[in-house]
């Protein structure tokens, strides 16, 4: 090489180096919170979308009439007070005055009426409540009255549960809305942050709502006073698990949600980040097909399958560190009022021999049992891998089929395609919200015994009596086996040590009001 080109090359490399150094100057604004989330949220319209991601972002923008405190109690949010009359058949809700929407308009009963109407018609969980309501009316500028067909115990829980729940929109927006998610221009709520923009794959940007009307009570769970300390919050989709962790360490994100369990032990002692465990457990469920196929009404065969599985092994392999899971036969996690041991002695026996005997009694002769799981979520696949291994060892002829999530969701809608499938269920504050309690959710558990108990469960108002009925339902879950629970799984997130005020939340969605950077 000639000297001239050598010189050129040297000059070039020096200048490249200079440019690189220039770029490397660290840049992070103190007023912006950067939250790395696992995926793109489909929409922020939580009335119709039940994605956890949607809920997590939307709770900063929208509010409901009620919300949950850290002990899973439904408490007022937009509501000032309520009055229950006529043995629970008439409920009068009075709103707080002086609450403004992000568009400057004051919240009135008009808005609530329109929002609840839309939710009752098209909302994911609206019908669960409104099937029991005869009439809803506006009885004042700040007053809504609900007439129930008969007393309906879970009404407040349903109004408080924001996942697929009744977020309150301004009247103009709610009235126009139908089954399709509300477009971005309609993201107007009463929350401490307002929606600014969404740049697909880049971020969803929220900025502080300066006229936010906070409650006076101290912050507790999702309830009470909400202090917006950041000028701006960015929710950044970062699908790769490793990148979400590395991004915190590199200073590119302040908070990363949903880190795989296996990393817990090493991250917990990592000085570069803080680990926060979500207290509300989610549950792994194997659903059994009650409508078609070999498992239909064959409760003994289902029991045989249940008997064969040792959940310890499943949880350990799929989740990892013991801090993140609890072997628990109670459908609802410990610490909730719904914890119950009824029927749970059938849980996690891991007895292959007994299972074989039961299967034989049930008339099982090695027929193919189709088990579906997704590889889109590692914990689904890993759990299923262990479960199917154990079932095969106990002599079941399992046809293990794996799909990506989208395919599984549409396959499971067709009862002829499967016998069992695996999914996770988020924490719910009231058992009526469990998907297996619904007769239209794939699995289609609708035996007469279940119908009867479910009806009784809904119409009983007394908390003690309700608990007693729930015990019976759980007992039935272990005899008819519409689902098989793996255990409680506690999700954890990580955040930069400079964040202060992050609370272990009661449910599973982190919230960023009350959180601030260390001074």
């Amino acid at each position: 090489m000639g000297t001239r080109s050598a010189k050129l090359l040297r000059m070039l490399s020096v200048s490249v180096l200079c440019v690189l150094m220039l770029f490397s100057a660290a840049w992070a604004s103190e007023d912006v919170l950067r939250v790395a989330v696992i995926d793109e949220a489909p929409s922020l319209d939580q009335q119709v979308i039940t994605s956890d991601l949607t809920t997590m972002i939307a709770i900063h923008v929208f509010e409901g009439l009620y919300t949950f405190d850290s002990k899973y109690n439904p408490v007022p949010m937009l509501v000032k007070e309520e009055e229950v009359k006529d043995d629970g058949k008439l409920i009068v809700i009075r709103l707080r005055e002086g609450v403004t929407f992000h568009n400057g308009k004051e919240l009135t009963a008009d808005d609530v009426y329109a929002s609840l109407s839309r939710w009752s018609q098209f909302g994911s969980r609206g019908s669960v409540l409104f099937n029991n309501i005869e009439k809803m009316e506006q009885t004042g500028k700040y007053e809504i009255t609900l007439h129930f067909k008969q007393a309906f115990a879970p009404w407040k829980n349903l109004l408080a549960f924001m996942n697929g729940g009744p977020a309150i929109y301004p009247k103009e927006i709610a009235e126009k809305a139908d089954k399709t998610p509300i477009p971005e221009t309609g993201y107007i709520g009463t929350g401490p942050y307002k929606f600014v923009e969404r740049s697909p794959s880049r971020y969803i940007r929220l900025v502080r709502f300066d006229e936010y009307a906070a409650r006076d009570e101290a912050s507790d769970g999702y309830a009470g006073k909400k202090e917006a300390n950041f000028k701006e919050i960015q929710f950044i989709p970062v699908p790769d698990d490793a990148t979400r962790v590395n991004g915190i360490k590199a200073g590119d994100y302040d908070y990363s949600e949903r880190i795989p369990g296996d990393l817990y032990d090493s991250l917990k002692d990592d000085p570069d980040l803080v680990v926060t465990l979500q207290k509300g457990g989610s549950q792994g469920f194997v659903f059994f097909n009650s409508k078609e196929g070999i498992l239909k009404e064959n409760f003994k065969l289902r029991k045989a399958i249940l008997t064969a599985v040792d959940m310890d092994a499943v949880l350990k392999a799929a989740i990892g560190p013991e801090a993140l899971w609890r072997k628990n036969g109670s459908i609802m996690p410990e610490g909730t009022p719904w914890f119950s041991t009824a029927g749970a002695d059938a849980y996690s026996l891991g007895d292959a021999e007994k299972a074989k005997a039961l299967a034989k009694e049930a008339g099982y002769n090695g027929e193919k049992i189709t088990y579906m799981a997704t590889t889109s979520y590692k914990v689904h696949y890993d759990s299923s891998l262990v479960i199917t291994e154990q079932l095969k060892k106990a002599g079941f002829n399992i046809d293990f089929q794996i799909y990506d999530w989208a395919t599984l969701v549409s396959k499971r809608a067709d009862a002829t395609q499967w016998d069992m499938f695996f999914t996770y269920h988020g924490f719910v504050p009231d058992p009526v919200l469990f998907t297996f309690m619904s007769e239209v959710y794939p699995g289609w558990w609708a035996t007469p015994e279940k119908k009867e108990l479910a009806a009784k469960f809904a119409s009983t108002l007394d908390e003690k009596e309700r608990k007693a009925i729930w015990d019976q339902i759980q007992e039935l879950v272990y005899t008819q086996v519409p689902i098989m629970k793996t255990g409680d799984n506690f999700i954890y997130d990580v955040y930069a040590p400079k964040l202060e005020g992050v609370k272990d939340t009661a449910l599973i969605w982190p919230r960023f009001w009350g959180v601030h950077f260390k001074k």
């Binding site: 770029f23 660290a26 089954k179 790769d240 991004g247 590199a250």
Partner: protein, 315 residues
């Protein structure tokens, strides 16, 4: 030349049509339902049915195809099912990242590939030649995501020189400092892909270095340097140019992985995510546009032959 150009452009039309048919039928063969994916796990069957209806997914496939095609002719690629935005604007949002990555990577590839290729050819069979071919081949043998992760670990997590992931818009903020977000991804793309250019430059230079006209040039007393640059390199450029279309399409594939690793808001990741979400209009739109760009690049490549190699004339 002009009539050649017209013919080439005209021949792109049936190709694009064929592409559109293949894309459309492939995409709709994928099992899964965008409405279900969107609404979440707890959606009721009625909700799903409503949404399907309003998205036009219940109509016969051929009608959906012609509707789509008709739209494209009017410049309307339809609306993204997931984002509720026109497909073109969804793609335009991501195009910035991908265009920056593609340009920087191709420049890097050329900056790395051609000089090393020339050097290897000049020092044919020397230690240097063997060393470069060994090293470039080594990098070409590393899985892209693995290389990217290691670079991220070293430069972002340990040394904290570059950001680990993401890419805030430059065009919107006017902040050119944001280019630093793209340095690691571009290196991840450029290093393995340089191997091809190194090889092409080297061997095409070797091929012509014994050609008659080069010998003549030497005999005329031109310095070795000038012979190398004027004659040999110019010829090598033809070979390298011919690989550009191929390199481009290869880059698109590799950006899918790179953008996932570095969480970049680009076209590559949009493709994967759209497939997972069954966002049919978006996938179709992207593939068609990528195919179109590829065809245009190939056309430019063919035309540039004529400029680089005086012996080729199109008529």
């Amino acid at each position: 030349m002009f009539s050649y150009l017209v013919r080439r452009i005209a021949s792109m039309i049936p190709s694009l049509l064929l592409t559109s048919i293949i894309v459309f039928s492939f995409i709709h063969l994928i099992p899964g339902d965008p409405a279900r994916v969107m609404l979440g796990d707890q959606a009721t069957p009625e909700q799903v049915e409503y949404l399907r209806e309003s998205m036009g997914l219940n109509r016969p496939l051929y009608i959906q195809y012609f509707k789509w095609l008709g739209g494209i002719l009017r410049g309307d690629f339809g609306s993204s099912i997931f984002f509720h935005q026109p497909v073109l604007s969804v793609i335009a949002d991501r195009a910035e990242t991908s265009v920056f990555i593609a340009l920087i990577s191709i420049v890097l590839i050329i900056l790395i590939g051609i000089p090393i290729g020339i050097l290897s050819a000049i020092r044919y069979n020397s230690f240097l030649d063997q060393f470069f071919s060994g090293v470039s081949m080594f990098f070409a043998s590393i899985p892209t995501f693995w290389l990217g992760l290691n670079l991220m670990l070293l430069f972002s997590v340990i040394l904290k020189i570059f950001p680990s992931s993401g890419f805030p818009s430059i065009l919107k903020s006017g902040n050119w400092e944001n280019l630093r977000y793209l340095i690691l991804p571009c290196i991840t793309l450029a290093i393995p892909n340089s191997a091809l250019i190194i090889r092409l430059t080297r061997s095409s230079m070797l091929d012509v270095s014994n050609a008659d006209y080069v010998k003549t040039a030497r005999a005329k007393g031109l310095s070795e340097m000038r012979v190398n640059i004027r004659h040999i390199f110019r010829n090598a450029l033809v070979a390298v140019t011919s690989a550009l279309g191929f390199t481009f399409i290869g880059l698109v594939s590799k950006t899918v992985v790179t953008e996932t690793v570095f969480s970049l808001p680009g076209i590559g990741r949009l493709i994967v995510e759209s497939i997972l979400r069954r966002d049919y209009p978006t996938i179709q739109g992207i593939i068609l546009i990528v195919a179109f760009i590829y065809m245009v690049i190939n056309l430019i490549v063919d035309l540039s032959y004529a400029l680089l190699d005086p012996r080729i004339r199109y008529s």
